[in-house]
Symmetry: C2
Subunit: 522 residues, 2 copies
């Protein structure tokens, strides 16, 4: 890793000197735009093989940049993956997990008490060290209580919501989720910010687009490098699109949402071009976890040829679409087989800014600049966690499963299916099956769908296991789990009276405070 | 269809006048190259989302031409699909089916007595009317007895084999398959044309490549328009590759075969460019049926997000990769959602040559020139047959299954699985389930994987059924099935003493002639 870091610094110098702007020597670091989708699957873009091919802007972004076919979320669920992006660390380190049950996914509903700990150092705070202005547009999801507010963790601006756009609620048993501008709420979903569940109509993506374009224009006018974290959520159930896009997709309402996002990405890249800052803007597009097949086909996307979806540690749960774009720097039309992780966006962004990641803690993100600028590949493990349990690891082409589980028989019998139409005997299990002594191993090149486990007796199996075992041992021996943040829930902490509610007359009265163990069924 | 044909003629005139060559007015019609793969699946090309992305030449062909995401074989099995390509007719019309059982796939093993009837008019014979020289390179598969020889059905040249490259055989109970040059055999597989089953090494793709390049060069030198049917079979189990490609794919031996074919396609297109005839050469790449998942992962490919594979009438069995290339005529980077069929290559080729399809018989192929040159879409049904049984039909986005079947419980229990890792309850059935009165209907845009049948009670279901029913009725009422060719087998008709065997000293003695009903288990 040291060699890689050194190479990346050299490389950055090359790049910066190639840009060769200014009289003072080094040009300013590039703008950084991270476009994070919600529950979008690997198979949802035309360039990843979606048969309806309705993402011309994203497909073009790929032909102008680098596509990563093997890029991973840090978790099969939203909040932990988002915490990992902004900290560069596995959720097990940052505390974005639960110990309430074995191998349980957890996130931040509005009754959650925890959130991003103050001890974590987030990307926008670090980028301040290089003079970046930063904004988050859309879903934060790292806790909604005051101490977890994104502007307390480095962002300069926020327009969006702390939690998922579930609802509508009655504001008595459960409040509607607030939408914030910076420090204060400016309304609530289903109220000032309508989402029509029946028609699927909502203007939210258009609002989030305008927030992005406005921020870009302002920072450009101020000649300040900026960090934009554009975390839209139209592809998370209940999926929505604005009227101009509703009914336009061959894929139904989910496709309408994808088309609107694709169009918005086209507008964002177009503005960068129009402002003449495309070559000084690094843009990365990816998603927080695999498509939610439990909501398919009307409210969920596609994981292409991969097994299962969101909530699982099969490829469909964690392999993501990923496109890097930086004209004049990243070669056009490149495909990188570098195994990538959402956590790499942390380290790569710091590298772009000429900054070092914090040295006082374990950082899991890799600098992707050598892969993107020089086509170099770095071997590194991909860890698949579910809550506090290391379910699987991929090293090179080999993926070893230490635990297999989709969901419980109880849930499955009620129709909750994370793998509809898929059933790999002994693999997509409905009880938690331990394989720590003899992992199930798949060759992801020959068998990306995880359908054909290697024979335990084969030399290929033994060779793969011999390589994987010490990597996992080192990881587990050195791992210091963070204080789990997703154990305790309390109805009293819900979004009853967010800051700013008084001005709007939208404060609600919280119930009595009763801390409880959160229930995480899968 | 009449309007389409007229439009297509107009369009052809436009195209030809745009090319504007020669003093005599009309330029010569373009060369036609049909590159037909064997058991390659929809998901096997990078441009269709294969994660290893090892087909740079085919991906480039797509960016320079038109990609069809909804293009279909005429049958989930090789021989019938190939008969359909060359006749423009469904196998049920040309006789490429069996009545030995209900809904059974059948093909042309070397004990088959039947083959392509003399009454069928094949594409190469018709193209002679416009002065085309024609060659088939590779697998013929329309019967191996003398009356079925490709040079008796319009081809001027042949280099390849009449049957699959199964073997090695002992030449006593069963002869090895001959390889022909034109009228006579020049050797046998596993003898003069080695395929090493253990290592997977064979030079056959290189030989087939040279045959193609040589033919192109000769016809170009002679200033004759040509038709090349390049029917390679390296991706059919047992898959093979030459030494230079063995071990180079991330996907194992199957991927090695794909890489060698991709490289070969690059060389063919490169030669057309080098000879300055790219703009007067129409090239189409597709496959005969879906990937053979029964041979996966080491000997079978990928059907991407689709259900099941070869032998089945789910999308994985019949949806194919399809790329059209004709620089200067077909727009670069176009995606056409025209539902296409391998039979369209017959009609389209005739249209390119300025010829009409035979008017004395039903032709199922559509002229794709309006789709490719003008972006026009024509509604047309896609019929999915298994033997003599119409299993399913797609019209627009709706696919109705009248029968569902994968294979028998007996076969399945023995490990023969056409849908490994996939199981859609009531859909991937192991008994033949009739749904003719209440078809299962899927929306392929929202649900390309055929996992979520529409509710019978929904208005969407009823509307779809109302559209589909009369189309199927018209088809079935007007259908005149051909004399079934794939019913009778006889050990005596095997390739014991093909023409030319005397010169090589390779004639074998046939056993007594005993005609039998062929056994078609699935």
């Amino acid at each position: 890793m040291a060699a890689v870091a050194a190479a990346s610094r050299r490389c950055l110098l090359l790049v910066l000197s190639a840009a060769g702007l200014g009289l003072t020597g080094a040009p300013p670091p590039p703008n950084i735009l991270l476009l994070l989708m919600d529950d979008m699957g690997w198979g949802d873009l035309g360039v990843y093989g979606e048969p309806s091919r309705e993402t011309p802007n994203l497909d073009r972004m790929a032909t102008e940049g680098t596509l990563f076919p093997s890029f991973y979320a840090a978790n099969p669920l939203c909040s932990p993956s988002r915490a990992a992006l902004l900290t560069g660390r596995l959720p097990i380190r940052s505390g974005f997990y639960t110990t309430n049950g074995h191998a349980r996914n957890a996130y931040t509903p509005q009754e959650i008490v925890g959130g991003i700990p103050d001890s974590e150092r987030l990307l926008p705070a670090l980028l301040k060290g290089a003079g970046y202005a930063s904004k988050i547009v859309g879903k934060w999801h790292l806790g909604h209580r005051p101490q977890f507010h994104p502007l307390r963790h480095g962002f300069d601006e926020w327009f969006g919501s702390p939690n998922c756009h579930f609802g509508p609620y009655d504001n008595r048993a459960r409040p509607n989720i607030p939408v914030y501008r910076d420090w204060e709420m400016v309304g609530r979903y289903y109220e000032e910010f309508p989402i029509h569940l029946k028609t699927g109509e909502s203007n939210l993506t258009q609002i989030y687009l305008q927030e992005a374009l406005g921020f870009i224009r302002r920072q450009q006018a101020a000649h300040r490098p900026f960090f934009l974290y554009w975390a839209v959520d139209a592809t998370h159930a209940p999926v929505y699109a604005s009227r101009a896009f509703l009914g336009t997709s061959q894929r139904g309402r989910y496709g309408d949402a994808v088309r609107e996002i694709d169009d918005s990405v086209g507008r964002i890249l177009g503005l960068l071009r129009d402002l003449g800052v495309a070559e000084s803007s690094f843009v990365f597009f990816t998603s927080d976890n695999g498509a939610a097949l439990v909501s398919a086909p009307k409210q969920g996307g596609s994981n292409g040829p991969f097994l299962c979806g969101k909530q699982t540690t099969f490829e469909g749960g964690m392999r993501e679409p990923a496109i890097a774009w930086w004209p004049g720097h990243i070669p056009a039309g490149q495909v990188s087989h570098q195994p990538g992780s959402i956590m790499d966006l942390f380290t790569t962004s710091l590298s772009l800014a000429g900054l070092q990641p914090p040295s006082d803690r374990a950082i899991d993100g890799l600098d992707l600049l050598p892969a993107m600028l020089q086509g170099r590949l770095t071997e590194r493990p991909i860890f698949y966690y579910r809550g506090n349990t290391l379910m699987a690891v991929t090293l090179g082409q080999y993926k070893a499963h230490f635990w297999t589980w989709t969901n419980s028989w109880e849930e499955f019998r009620q129709g909750v299916d994370f793998c509809p139409g898929q059933n790999v005997s002994g693999v997509t299990t409905h009880s938690q099956e331990e394989h720590t002594r003899l992992p199930l191993i798949f060759h992801l090149g020959r068998d990306p769908g995880e359908r054909f486990p290697l024979s335990f007796a084969s030399s290929e199996y033994l060779d793969a296991l011999r390589k994987i075992t010490p990597v996992v041992q080192r990881h587990q021996e050195s791992l210091v789990p963070g204080q789990p943040q997703l154990n305790v829930c309390n109805q009293a902490v819900m979004n009853w009276a967010p800051p700013g509610c008084e001005k709007l007359g939208k404060c609600l009265t919280p119930p009595e405070s009763v801390p409880e163990k959160c229930s995480w069924p899968h």
